[in-house]
């Protein structure tokens, strides 16, 4: 048994070809294969001391084989020849044990991505462990320095990593790309001197390019601001009022649209957006886009999990559901073509995933949205999983601020907000102009006409 050298990215195409060849020799009619490799270092600092230093290096290979309309998948992190041979033959036996699925199979060979654009996702800046420690310490210190009520901390974390993906299939497609990411976050804790209670919040920055990362001082100060403003939180009485979602929270609503528009939930009958294509599902101000090719985007990729070209899909156009999110399999189930949204965990069948998902900005500043609200709730954090994708029923724990006459009056906790997503998207009455990409999903501030808030 010979192990390949541990840095062997340049050998992956050769490895892929030999694994595919092996599958073919065992009778597989089609096959595809994914190799993912990554390296990352992260540090956590707490109360100005290093708390944890973690270094990760991993690689994993996943293969999917087809015997006509039967298929199976498997994965391993052991790249020795003997292990890979065993993996391929085990996967082939597994495939023969499942039933035929008429919909299964690779995409047609003429649909594979031909050009693989460079989406500017890689920064070669190496961070030393000491640099990471320094960044994390500065972020945490900035939070403590910002306000005397910050008395404790869950720590600050800095990490840097790179990853590479290679996808190959029996149509002869071979594609690869690499990307980097840098992140810095801090979670301060503020003490309420009135009642001894504590509040925690956090702030963060994640970027593909190191020089674009927000400064540790800015992250620390923002984390402190978000934390101390929660001191003195209390519940409010149960009532139906307008609810404003801040950008961090509004992106969750987009995630629900994307999930409900995913081909898998749709063909399984598990989405509240079933049979809604071409129909109005949201107010006219709502346009939702998923764009896989934004240069430097955190969700960008030149080809999807099946090797099809990624693209820009308008999911909701001025309130009308204009596109589902599909891969080849779920597209075939619905009688449609893939939208280039195949997402792939190594060793799993493709599923549907977002790339860079965002809500187009509206005309209002966040201040104007606040000013327009006579009585209402501004939500800054949600907890729990009370979202039913089949019915659209929505009920979650909320943290935020009570608004009266356009002004924030006091922080709020221990309340829930509830409604149904089908109504909630139609109830969006104002969209902010504050769209900033901080992750794969981005939204401006959003105001809903009304939701039920349950409290005391």
């Amino acid at each position: 048994m010979t192990n390949l050298p541990s840095t062997h990215g340049d050998r992956f195409p050769e490895l892929a070809a030999s694994v595919l060849k092996r599958a073919k020799s065992l009778g597989a009619t089609e096959a595809d294969l994914l190799v993912a490799e990554g390296d990352s270092v992260s540090v956590q600092v707490r109360m100005s001391e290093v708390d944890r230093l973690s270094k990760a290096r991993e690689k994993v290979l996943g293969i999917r084989v087809f015997f006509g309309k039967r298929s199976a998948s498997s994965s391993t992190s052991d790249f020795s020849e003997a292990s890979l041979d065993r993996l391929v033959s085990d996967t082939c036996s597994l495939a023969k044990a499942v039933v035929e699925d008429d919909t299964s199979g690779l995409p047609a060979s003429d649909q594979m991505a031909v050009d693989i654009p460079d989406l500017d996702m890689k920064d070669s800046r190496q961070l030393t462990v000491d640099e990471e420690i320094d960044l994390a310490k500065r972020a945490e210190k900035a939070a403590f320095d910002a306000d005397a009520r910050i008395t404790n901390s869950e720590g600050a974390e800095c990490s840097a990593g790179y990853g590479s993906i290679l996808l190959a299939n029996s149509h002869g497609f071979v594609g690869s790309y690499t990307s980097s990411s840098y992140s810095l976050s801090v979670s301060p804790i503020a003490l309420d001197s009135q009642n001894g209670g504590m509040q925690r919040d956090h702030w963060y920055s994640v970027k593909r390019k190191f020089h674009e990362l927000e400064s540790p001082e800015k992250i620390g100060q923002e984390a402190a601001r978000r934390t101390v403003r929660r001191l003195g939180s209390r519940s409010i009485s149960t009532q139906e009022v307008p609810v404003i979602f801040d950008p961090e929270i509004a992106q969750g609503l987009l995630g629900h649209i994307a999930s409900a528009a995913s081909g898998y939930l749709l063909y399984k009958g598990a989405s509240f957006l079933m049979d809604q294509l071409g129909k109005k599902i949201a107010s006219e101000s709502v346009t939702v886009v998923d764009d896989g090719r934004l240069p430097n985007g955190l969700g960008s990729r030149p080809f999807d999990g099946e090797g099809l070209p990624t693209r820009r899909n308008v999911i909701v156009d001025k309130g009308v559901l204009t596109s589902y999110l599909l891969d080849t399999y779920s597209g075939r189930k619905l009688g449609m073509a893939s939208t280039g949204n195949a997402s792939r965990s190594v060793g799993e069948n493709p599923t549907v995933g977002i790339t860079n998902l965002f809500l187009s900005p509206g005309p209002y500043s966040p201040e104007e949205i606040l000013k327009s609200t006579k009585r209402g709730l501004l939500v800054t954090e949600l907890i729990g999983f009370g979202v039913n994708m089949v019915t659209g029923d929505y009920s979650r724990g909320a943290v935020g601020f009570w608004i009266e006459n356009g002004e924030i009056v006091h922080p709020v906790e221990e309340v829930t907000i509830a409604g149904n997503l089908k109504n909630m998207f139609n109830d969006i009455e104002m969209i902010g102009n504050d769209l900033v990409f901080r992750g794969r999903t981005a939204s401006p501030t959003v105001k809903l006409r009304k939701m039920m808030v349950a409290g005391h």
Binding site: L53, A72, S77, V99, D101, G347, N349, E414, G455, H456
Partner: protein, 475 residues
């Protein structure tokens, strides 16, 4: 069966030699965790078992602890060179040169308990048997009611072999089986579509699912919940008495109490429970334990991922907060006992104090009397997930099957709703505890710092005098 270095194609000397590189003068503790996990998963939808997936994960995680600092590195290559590299990275934290003290193994005992003796290893279950089980579930769920339109089910098994060697000369390992069956049904009546989910499992063999028709019972239960929800009315909004049924509603304890009693948050004084040991945090009817020693249970382990035997830890005794659950790092820094709760998702993750099976002991009330005592309130029989803000103590959990209680009787089913409360307060409002303590069926997974581990919960029927229910209808 106790694993040995040979299971990882390594010699004991190689492991010790590599671990030595993680030690230094001021390293208090170092360990190496070797893991090999085989996962098999089949799933069914549209009456077809379409998906069959097998994965093999193997690697080593090495850490060095110096004071409060932890250095951690992992490798999915198990060559001696890779292990040594990982060990040296872990030692970086100690900021001092490598120790020259050669390590030897002095304790080599296997686990002293065997909580999951299986007659057939999970890896020996044939794909045909797995496929057949799912096909039977499909038929059974559809037979329950013609309105069951979709049935989805998955059967997953995992066999984890691990070995941990540490700087105190201990070498210990375990083989941990884990199986889980999950069923989701969608009922359709015109445009009304509703979902129901159920499942079960544990550290059990295949026979668990087939004996006494258990898997088919799970299928009927998933179908029943979906059908019940077809008639669900809007859930009420506001504060009201809440009765929780036995079993899975024990997720209340996991969110409201359990996380807040994990030692790491309390060492850092970031938990709403910090400094409350010895104080009353629940009504005297409440006694709550975390117990990793229950045979065949999903949250149980012979030893935790640091080699400590699991135990039964008193968390709350008759309303008084008694103790925390610990891992080595936090037990040492806080000067409190090891409870066998040091857990990690896999070799890629660091050890954290985590729950095992968390439940409330039975009380004396008759469950029917508990319902009868409520004039107007909510009865919650089953839940989806929950979440807690450790620092503020606020927690939520979401009902997936719930009913109105009107004049002491369970009446209409209501749509799913989130319940919210404050951990250190909510159990003070427990006014009745039933004699019907029940553990959940074995499907729970707990998330913390991005790591998932299997857990169990349990609860008798209880009455909480007042809780906020997040429905949409004015109560």
């Amino acid at each position: 069966m106790t694993p040995s270095p040979a299971d990882f194609s390594l010699q004991e000397q190689d492991m010790l030699h590599a671990l030595t590189k993680a030690t230094a003068r001021n390293v208090d503790y170092a360990d190496m965790y070797l893991e090999s996990t085989v996962t098999d998963s089949v799933s069914m939808e549209e009456s077809l078992v379409k998906r069959a997936v097998k994965s093999i994960a193997q690697g080593a995680g090495i850490r060095a602890v110096a004071g409060e600092r932890t250095g951690f590195a992992y490798s999915d290559d198990l060559s001696v060179r890779d292990l040594e590299q990982a060990a040296e990275t872990a030692r970086y934290i100690a900021e001092s040169p490598q120790g020259d003290h050669p390590l030897t193994v002095t304790h080599r005992t296997g686990p002293s308990q065997n909580l999951y003796p299986l007659t057939q290893p999970l890896t020996d279950i044939t794909t045909e048997a797995r496929v057949d089980l799912l096909n039977q579930i499909d038929v059974e769920a559809r037979r329950y009611d013609p309105r069951i339109a979709k049935v989805m089910a998955s059967f997953n098994t995992e066999q984890k072999i691990f070995l941990v060697v540490n700087s105190e000369g201990q070498l210990v390992g375990d083989v941990q089986p884990l199986a889980r069956l999950q069923i989701t049904c969608i009922a359709e009546d015109g445009a009304n579509r509703q979902i129901g989910s159920y499942g079960g499992g544990g550290r059990v063999g295949f026979s668990f699912f087939v004996e006494n028709g258990r898997a088919l019972e799970f299928a009927r239960e998933a179908a029943r919940q979906a059908i019940v929800n077809l008639d669900a009315v809007d859930a009420p909004a506001g504060t009201m008495p809440v009765v929780l049924g036995g079993g899975w509603p024990g997720i209340l304890l996991h969110e409201a109490i359990g996380h807040g009693l994990e030692a790491d948050f309390n060492r850092r004084k970031t938990s709403a429970f910090s400094g409350l040991i010895g104080q009353q945090v629940a009504s005297e009817l409440c006694t709550i334990v975390d117990d990793g020693t229950l045979p065949f249970r999903r949250g149980s382990m012979n030893i935790d991922d640091e080699g400590t035997p699991t135990s039964r830890t008193m968390l709350i005794e008759k309303g008084i907060l008694r103790g925390y659950i610990t891992d080595r790092l936090n037990a040492r820094l806080m000067g409190i006992p090891l409870t066998g709760n040091g857990r990690r998702e896999d070799f890629r993750s660091v050890v954290l104090p985590r729950m095992t099976n968390t439940f409330m002991l039975a009380g004396e009330s008759n469950p029917e009397d508990i319902i009868r005592s409520v004039k107007k309130g909510l009865y919650a029989a089953s839940f989806g997930g929950g979440q807690v803000d450790i620092t503020s103590g606020k927690f939520v959990f979401s009902a997936s099957e719930a009913y109105l209680i009107e004049d002491g009787k369970i009446t209409k089913p209501v749509k799913g709703a989130t319940l919210i409360g404050n951990g250190p307060d909510v159990l003070k409002k427990v006014s009745m505890v039933g004699h019907d303590m029940k553990l959940d069926e074995g499907i729970g997974t707990c998330g913390k710092e991005g790591q998932s581990v299997p857990v169990g919960v349990g609860l008798p029927t209880i009455k909480i005098d007042e809780m906020t229910v997040g429905g949409t209808a004015m109560a």
